[in-house]
């Protein structure tokens, strides 16, 4: 569903909204200060890998925050949301106290609101376009916190609001991977009436939501609840199934699949290729987080081991680096250090994560770059050499280019290093489809509007198309792919 200005206007003119608007003066709305998310105290939370840091808003807090929103005639916030949630509508339902209706509004365009409310970089998306920021130079309405509130309320209410689905049309479609792109695609296709199967290589459904993002930021139970909803709508899940390996695309076509959505992610870790990087105790963030999050290595009853360090260095400045460094603290590190070659202003991580990491005692060594690692006689890393960086002219990405400073080299004692300097697209699917067009970076080429690849019945989205991006962009891709594959399949099945 697209939100045309007319539609938005019509919704906004509904009696209940007009009434709410007239109930409180805008002047008074503006006087309320932004709610603060209740958090677990840093000294407590660093002891638990599985306790969520943000505790969620109380109903009164949510209602008060919702009152701040002015239900703008021209809600620019919506333009900042990649899936165009009808933000004022859901927020006004919260102000009115009809939280389940707020949740239903979210579900109109977002299959995973409890996830997005927690992990979206709101400050760069919806909230960056809020009237408060744009015109008043004040703190934005806490759209993300409110989204989480409504979704959590619904989950805890026991009333599960399974969206309606069209009559089954018997057409089989397959989606490859089970991250957010795939899940939103599956949700929409099952609503259109398709017979949808999600194929996942790992033994768990969820992609990065399960193996990457830690429990203290996104509990697995939240993801599982959303998966249960998809199951109830009729989506089928096959784990331990690598499309292109366990079966080929041709095998699946023979089994009757008419359309494919590839959302296999950007799962391949990059290393820096510097001397000593293969010593024991130096691992990718994917390995570190997978051991802990997917395999449960931090608890004593699982078989998967994880290395613990006293002095842990994490290389990088993105969400992955923050998740790794905060995990290291929770696994007992005395010193957990972020080493990033640019300055803090350029860090791609969500601001909230950087803030939380600092509260927990993470050290930030910005403008520093690793050069080499040293090991003890058993091959376990014991130290590293770095140099300091200065910022030069802006580069192609618009960020100022870090340049090594001569003579600034120094050494640091470390016994565990987590490398979080980015990921590359998963090459598995492209490698088994010679006709599939890919870029020189290995991402799948698609028509940006339709998400259709050079193979007509194959659509793609998420990180395999964008390189490393965000949960919500991946979900937006899934929705667009669903809409366009639906049109494509309707046309081809009529002919």
């Amino acid at each position: 569903m697209s939100l045309t200005p007319e539609y938005l206007k019509e919704e906004r003119n509904q009696e209940w909204r007009a009434e709410l608007r007239s109930k409180t003066k805008n002047k008074d709305r503006m006087l309320i200060s932004r709610v603060k998310m209740p958090e677990l105290a840093p000294e407590i939370r660093v002891r638990y890998q599985d306790r969520e840091v943000n505790m969620g808003l109380e109903p009164e807090q949510a209602q008060k925050e919702a009152t701040r929103c002015m239900d703008c005639a021209n809600p620019t916030c919506i333009e900042g949301c990649p899936v165009n949630i009808n933000i004022p509508k859901f927020i006004k339902y919260i102000e009115k106290g009809e939280i389940l209706n707020a949740a239903a509004t979210l579900k109109e365009t977002n299959a995973l609101p409890a996830v997005c409310g927690r992990v979206c970089p709101q400050e760069k998306q919806c909230e960056s376009r809020c009237f408060y920021v744009d015109k008043l130079d004040k703190q934005a309405v806490a759209i993300g916190h409110l989204e989480r509130f409504a979704a959590d309320f619904e989950r805890n209410s026991g009333v599960s609001n399974v969206p309606e689905t069209a009559k089954p049309n018997g057409i089989k479609v397959a989606t490859v991977g089970s991250g957010p792109a795939s899940l939103s695609f599956a949700g929409d296709m099952v609503k259109y009436g398709y017979d949808v199967t999600v194929f996942e290589a790992l033994h768990e459904i969820g992609g990065v939501l399960k193996y990457g993002i830690p429990e203290f930021r996104l509990p697995n139970s939240v993801v599982d609840f959303e998966l249960e909803n998809l199951r109830k709508m009729g989506v089928k899940f096959e784990t331990n199934y690598i499309v292109g390996r366990t079966s080929s695309f041709d095998d699946l076509k023979e089994e009757g699949y008419k359309g494919f959505f590839v959302a296999s992610g950007a799962g391949l870790p990059r290393f820096m290729e510097i001397p000593g990087e293969n010593y024991n105790g130096i691992l990718s963030s994917n390995e570190y987080l997978t051991r802990v999050n997917l395999m449960g290595a931090s608890t004593s009853n699982t078989d998967t081991p994880v290395l613990r360090g006293k002095n842990v260095a994490v290389i990088g400045g993105g969400n992955t680096a923050m998740d790794s460094v905060r995990t290291a603290l929770r696994l007992g590190a005395e010193r957990a250090i972020i080493i990033y070659r640019r300055s803090e202003a350029e860090m791609p991580a969500r601001i909230e994560e950087v803030h939380h990491a600092k509260e927990e005692g993470v050290e930030f060594m910005t403008l520093c770059n690793p050069l080499e690692y040293f090991a003890n006689e058993k091959g376990r890393v014991k130290g590293m050499r770095l140099n300091r960086m200065g910022l030069g002219e802006p580069d192609a990405s618009g960020r100022r280019r870090p340049m090594p400073i001569d003579g600034s080299e120094f050494e640091l004692d470390v016994d565990l290093v987590v490398v979080a300097v980015g990921v590359s697209p998963n090459p598995l699917v492209p490698s088994c489809l010679p006709d599939l067009k890919v870029t020189k970076w290995g991402t799948i080429v698609v028509d940006e509007e339709k998400m259709q690849s050079s193979i007509p019945d194959l659509f793609a989205g998420g990180d395999i198309v964008r390189g490393g991006a965000t949960v919500i962009l991946a979900m937006g891709d899934g929705r667009r792919a669903a809409e366009n594959m639906h049109q494509f399949l309707q046309k081809t099945s009529i002919n």
Binding site: A201, T246, G267, D303, T304, P305, V306
Partner: protein, 274 residues
């Protein structure tokens, strides 16, 4: 799915399992492996597919009991199922008619060697195989390997069976006796290191199948990385077979020891539970 159809002990430590999985049985090729997980608390670990029957829809695994995961697998009874089994993974062995192949297997490495020997033989090569183990009890799959080899040499470290000596001694004798076009070696890392040094001396192209530590087996984590020709490669997606003469075996041996403490502890806890 993943039901254990039969279980046969080659020795107290080496067990052959036939497992139901029609999709893998249909798509696997020699050299491929699977990742397994036993129970919800289990770890993911790799085993080579030692054989498959696409008609019956089964694959064969040969596992040596090392620590917790291999013990948990072997503890499953016929009729029980493996919790998670995914594959086929890794690049298949490049099989073609080359001439004379010298295949060398050490210990449980003989199991993954079997389908490769079979495939090279079927492709029209002369195949000479050397299998070796510490003692008689650890020699496995002798008859199966013999079936696909033009000649089979069996060696034991202690001389309790076949000829006494290391695998490399048997290999060198053959290399000196006849022209060998290609070698393939599978076994403990240390054995592959010395076998590789030997064939390098004689300039014989050699493939080794590396048994790195793995987590996902799909290229996602980098736990399995090895240095080949000075470049970092991921064993699970770029391998598991590599040009042995380019592999940095010393680094590989070091990395195999990366979790020894943790594994020892896990094994102690597991045996206390039993």
């Amino acid at each position: 799915m993943n039901k254990i159809i039969s279980k046969e002990y080659f020795s107290d430590k080496v067990v052959k399992l036939v497992v139901e999985n029609p999709l893998i049985a249909r798509s696997r090729k020699p050299g491929n492996f699977v990742m397994l997980r036993i129970g919800e608390d289990g770890e993911r670990f790799p085993l080579t597919i030692a054989g498959a029957d696409p008609v019956k829809g089964t694959i064969t695994l040969v596992v040596q009991i090392m620590g917790v995961s291999s013990s948990k697998l072997v503890a499953l009874e016929v009729g029980e199922s493996i919790t998670d089994l995914v594959g086929p993974l890794g690049k298949p062995t490049h099989i073609e008619k080359i001439g004379t192949i010298l295949a060398a297997g050490g210990g449980v490495g003989v199991a993954p060697l079997l389908p490769i020997v079979e495939a090279f033989k079927k492709a029209g090569n002369r195949v000479v195989t050397v299998i070796a183990a510490r003692n008689k009890d650890l020699i496995i799959l002798e008859d199966e390997i013999r079936k696909w080899s033009d000649e089979l040499v069996v060696m034991t470290d202690d001389g309790s069976y076949g000829r006494q000596g290391l695998v490399t001694a048997g290999m060198e004798e053959i290399i000196q006796r006849e022209k060998v076009d290609e070698c393939i070696v599978i076994g403990p890392a240390i054995m592959m290191k010395f076998a590789s040094m030997l064939t390098k001396k004689y300039n014989i192209p050699t493939q080794a199948s590396l048994n790195s530590i793995m987590v996902d087996g799909t290229g996602m984590c980098g736990a399995c990385r090895v240095t080949v020709g000075g470049k970092t490669k991921f064993t699970c997606v770029d391998g598991p077979e590599f040009d042995a003469h380019q592999v940095n075996f010393d680094e590989m041996l070091m990395r195999l020891g990366g979790y020894v403490q943790e594994e020892k502890k896990a094994t102690e806890i597991y045996s206390q539970k039993l």
